[in-house]
Amino acid sequence: MSGGNSDLLELATRVAGWAQDGEQVEAYVARGRETEVRVYEGEVESLSSAESAGIGIRVVSGSRQGFAYAGSLDADVVHETLDEARDNAGFASPDEWVGLAGPDGVAPADLDLWRDDLAAYPTDVKVARALELERAVRAGDSRIRAVESAEWGDAAVESAVASSTGIRASSRRTVCYLSASAVAGSAADTQTGSGYSVGRSPDDLDLDKAAGDAVRRATRLLGAVKPHSAHLSVVFEPEITATLLAVIGGTLDGEAVLKGRSLFADRVGEEVSVGAITLVDDPTDPEAYGAARFDAEGLATRRNVLIEAGVLREFLYNSYSARRAGTVSTASAVRAGFKSAPGTGARALTVVPGQHSPEEILALVGDGLFVQSVSGVHSGVNPVSGDFSVGAEGVLIRGGELAGPVREFTIASTIQRMLSGVVAVGSDLERLPSSAAGLTLAIADVSMSGE
């Protein structure tokens, strides 16, 4: 299962073996290969292909942690990086809970996230698929005026982590995608929409869906006006729900809780949402985009139930925050590549699907706002205070049907109020290239700011 990257595990194990007395050493080694094809107006605009590799080393010595990385696996560079991490450790504050993960006996899920057929997929065919996508978007509707971008992308990533505390883990995964951004309308009434399809193998990709979504999203907004301000119920498209879940996942980081930076601190066992909401982070689900056998510290991933029928059950921990909180790691260590030491985060959040189709949810809401895109999540959502304010585009709902398109407005509430205000959970679970899956979700009493 972890076949092709035994050299990475060997290297990581060798580095871990260089730990001196009284010292813990962890090496994370990663190697990636990627291709990206962009086409524009029937021509290849750019074709990039690249391989990269690097190592990140953590040293814990005398209750202090140091980290260093290098974008190279050359022997001399690896030695220098270890020396640098060692030296860096000397400047950290002693912290009794600092330490590497150790084996905890949990067996990794039987996941195979690698597809050989992607590696064998010819570049010419990738180009042809991107061109086909562009044509499909153009042909999708006479009101499509331009295709801003049509893209094929793929990546194959292998990684290994080993530590002097006994961790040995390696994994590899492939991913590929098709994505397009469409421009509809005239100069006086321009609207945009994007669509994509993501999979592990070229066979997983649905080109028609990617094209269709881009066309539908762009054309649906034609003639959109700025709405009058109102307080109303909103219905989120699956992608918007996934964005909200990713924000909520961040507030459930055990380290943020320990450090007084989470609005959910001290609320385990309390009702934080309605009974229809059960929120799970499950990287062992083979269908999840963020599926993984191991976390960034090499512990086997597991299914964590964060909110159960509206009641807050637990937080996400890596080995540091778990030790400090007096609990065990939930195997939620994550890294942004080899250049960073492990933090904590969700990989595969999902709300357990409800009973209603999207159409039933519109009917249930009656009058409100259907939201198809949001912007400014990084600038308008404060995960510490819970304030939530984002730019949005969508369609007003009247009498249970989609009515007039609207744009240039914000929707605002707080994370706490939105969780309590859920009125319907969709049955339409959709896997998205994100740390969260989406489904249609209706939330009452949100502020819409417009004219």
Binding site: E43, V44, E45, S46, L47, S48, S49, A50, S52, G54, Q65, G66, F67, A68, Y69, A70, G71, S72, V77, D87, N88, A89, A92, S93, D95, V183, T190, Q191, T192, L258, G260, R261, L263, K339, S340, A341, S375, G376, H378, S379, G380, N382, V384, S385, G386, D387, S389, V390, G391, R407, E408, F409, T410, A412, T414, S447, M448, S449, G450, E451
Partner: protein
């Protein structure tokens, strides 16, 4: 980093199958970062990353490959991969003669960060932590981050350009959490410049820390922001991001070429209030977005984009300038050697006007006063953009009164530019920013005088 003779050979290899243009971009980046959180210096991280990206252009097609192997065989392999990616037949041997581009550095670096003891960097964090906590008992958490980077680049292309730059940047940020009856609130302050450790000769980390802490404490009594359209006064140096989003991205030539900018075809036309003159300036001394050369080897420039309300110029990189048969403006940038360059801003700012900033507030009967803005986002095709306010107050009867909770503001670029009805004689640059575009982040600066937009939609929840 690489010998000239090797570069010439690699460019030759890149053009062997008949490319129109080839480029080698080599980069050697070192950086260190130290983070204090929860009263502890959590870790000191340092790293090095180097490699080269090779671009071959044939007709309208760009082939690109990158490698972390800077040896001659490594570079030749990448050159061949890029040429194969551009995939055209033809042939013939072309030789390239390089001539060095000399561009003055935007400023001199006095103290290279790598020469400063790690203990000295860590000491800054402790000073900031103490100062923030001393600001008030409501401060429950403090985190502080120090970071430096040194990025040495070499760019050479088949047009004979050979240029190098040595870009040193240093930054420091403090974030605080305050706790009160109404829950938690946050305050942040940061500083960054294209300088070395001498940054801390002019910046007192204690002051940054106190400012971040005060912001969090002030917001404890904040009420929900209004919901709807209001006049908004933006304090000098707090909201250059407004222009970055309202029109900066829309003035990038790639968006213009692809007909996804509301500013397409508008050069020579009035696109803003006559009070607005907007400049993008990569030569601006030690500012965060400054550079000697861009990532295509062209000297940075000072480009006036809007003059007294009239659109005068877009920003250009090599590729888009070539398509239009004109010169670039020094705005071709990339995140690293692993990325293709594209049109990017540097330091983007609005020049000072003539009004008295206090008078602007006095003449605003009811509105919002923004003292600090966070990030933003724009859809260049529609012109709709958002930006977040992280310190704001209500204006009532011409006076700044109660603090407001965080919210986004939303507007449409061309409308907002026309609705700027007062620009003050003050001016300040804002906090260092990282601009994201198509997955690439680059350091950018922004700045502006105190100004008023007669109507902007404030995305709060107040009824």
């Amino acid at each position: 980093m690489i010998d000239e003779s090797v570069i010439e050979g690699v460019l030759g290899a890149a053009l062997r199958t008949g490319g129109d243009f080839a480029e080698v971009f080599a980069e050697d980046r070192r950086g260190s970062a130290a983070r204090l959180d929860d009263g502890r210096v959590e870790d000191l991280a340092s790293g090095r990353d180097r490699g080269a990206g090779i671009r071959v252009v044939v007709g309208e097609t760009t082939g690109f490959a990158h490698t972390s192997d800077l040896s001659e065989p490594g570079l030749r392999a990448a050159a061949e991969a890029a040429a194969a990616a551009a995939r055209r037949g033809g042939g013939g041997v072309r030789t390239v003669a390089l001539s060095r581009v000399n561009a003055p550095p935007p400023n001199d670096v006095a103290v290279l960060p790598e020469t400063v003891a790690k203990a000295e960097k860590v000491a800054l964090l402790r000073r900031a932590d103490e100062a923030a906590r001393a600001t008030g008992g409501a401060i429950r958490q403090v985190s502080a981050v120090y970071g430096d980077s040194r990025r040495r680049i070499l760019v050479a292309n088949s047009e004979g350009v050979l240029a190098t730059d040595d870009q040193v940047k240093t930054r420091f940020a403090v974030s605080c959490v305050a706790s009160g009856d109404a829950g938690l609130q946050t305050g942040r302050e940061s500083v960054g410049a294209t300088v070395g450790f001498e940054l801390f000769d002019r910046v007192l980390v204690e002051e940054l820390a106190r400012s971040a802490a005060s912001r969090a404490i002030t917001k404890l009594s904040a009420r929900p922001a209004p919901s709807g359209s209001l006049p908004v006064v933006i304090k000098q140096g707090s909201g250059g991001v407004l222009f970055h989003e309202a029109c900066g991205h829309g003035l990038e030539a790639d968006h213009i070429a692809k007909d996804v900018s509301v500013f397409r075809g508008k050069v020579g036309q009035m696109v803003a209030s006559p009070l607005v003159t907007l400049v993008d300036d990569g030569t601006m001394g030690p500012e965060w977005g400054s550079l000697a050369i861009d990532d295509e080897g062209h000297p940075a420039g000072r480009n006036v984009l809007i003059e007294n309300g009239v659109l005068t110029e877009y920003m250009w990189d090599w590729l888009r300038a070539r398509q239009e048969g004109r010169l670039g403006t020094g705005n071709g940038r990339r995140e690293s050697y692993q990325h293709l360059p594209m049109v990017r801003m540097t330091n983007t700012y609005v020049l000072a006007g003539t009004s008295d900033p206090d008078e602007i507030v006095r003449q605003t009967p009811h509105g919002v006063y923004v003292a600090q803005l966070g990030g933003g986002q724009v859809n260049t095709a529609t012109g709709d953009f958002v930006f977040g306010m992280t310190e704001a107050y209500l204006i009532e009867d011409g006076h700044i009164t109660e603090p407001l909770r965080d919210a986004n503001l939303i507007g449409n670029g061309p409308d907002v530019l026309r609705n700027i009805d007062a620009v003050a004689a003050d001016f300040a640059m804002g906090m260092p920013g990282t601009c994201g575009k198509q997955g690439q982040g680059v350091p950018v600066g922004d700045g502006q005088p105190t100004l008023r937009v007669s109507a902007l939609t404030v995305g709060g929840t107040a009824r």
